[in-house]
Symmetry: C2
Subunit: 190 residues, 2 copies
């Protein structure tokens, strides 16, 4: 019997009912709509914070993984939507990097601008492109403190080949944050 | 049957044999020696990269969790020693924050300066103090690219109450990195 726990990380049960895992998501709008739908459903089902993410093959639009924020119910501050989506994607492709030799290019779509941890995680993830909807400023209005991210952080990662695009379908992404606040969802920080 | 995997995260089997989980670690040196011993054992057992970490109650020195790098064998780029130690600690205290009301102050000791992801994770972890041994420059000599961390990153987190101290027992921490290189361990990046 180990002194240390074994961790089990599983997506909420509603994901299988509400997400079409066999569909392809050909456009940026379709991919972002999925990330935002995940965030919205996570709020409505009260299974975590107002954040959703998904990874795709860039060219085909094949869905590789999804993630939602599970920090409070999972008692695990690392379970941001982006981190969950990366871990699930790497398990699915069978490599620690979505940029491993022989794999097609992958992208992350997320309903809100990544925090410092998740932006750091993109560095190791192997994705080539990161797209978000609501901005850091939108999250800050809800008192989520996204941590130490600077213009230089993006510049550093761009130099290493990752493309970033923010504010795609921003009003829809922001609406999920507002909904969460209206429902009185818990806001946690460090 | 879910379309998405359930993730299981478990420390290597040698941890229970080699770590005294019932001991207390009263001094900074004792705490750092444990983090470095974890990194060293992880190299010798070939169970991951040359990095180890542990969390403690600040005052009593009670060991709460340990972590080692499990990126390559775990096929999961998020499994840095610090992230594993945080997740294990939060599971053990039963909260998403080691700074939750009613808990004593907690500290992280890590054998090498945190990368951008792990530094971002400290923001959410609830620890009050982070201490490392080998530096970012030592890691860079092995071609590990620690990501976008700047003086302003530390300043941001210090303003939110986290204390940072680097270079404690640096030569011992650095020696583990050198050992890993000499043994030809894999170096991965994004």
């Amino acid at each position: 019997m180990s002194a240390f726990p074994e961790l089990h990380i599983r997506l909420p049960a509603w994901v299988d009912d509400e997400i079409d895992t066999a569909a392809t998501y050909p456009t940026d709008e379709a991919r972002m709509a999925l990330a935002i739908a995940l965030a919205h459903a996570n709020v409505v089902h009260e299974t975590g914070g107002p954040f959703g993410a998904a990874t795709f093959e860039a060219t085909t639009g094949r869905l590789i993984s999804v993630g939602v924020n599970m920090v409070v119910p999972g008692r695990n501050a690392m379970l941001h939507a982006e981190v969950v989506a990366f871990m699930m994607a790497q398990a699915r492709v069978g490599s620690f990097s979505l940029g491993a030799e022989g794999l097609p290019a992958h992208e992350l779509f997320t309903s809100c601008e990544p925090c410092a941890m998740c932006l750091g995680a993109t560095h190791w993830s192997g994705v080539r492109r990161v797209v978000w909807s609501a901005t850091r400023e939108d999250a800050a209005e809800l008192f989520f403190d996204e941590g130490p991210v600077f213009a230089a952080s993006y510049e550093y990662l761009r130099e290493r080949g990752i493309v970033f695009e923010g504010g795609v379908m921003r009003s829809e992404g922001r609406a999920v944050l507002v909904l969460y606040r209206e429902r009185g969802g818990p806001v946690y920080n460090g």
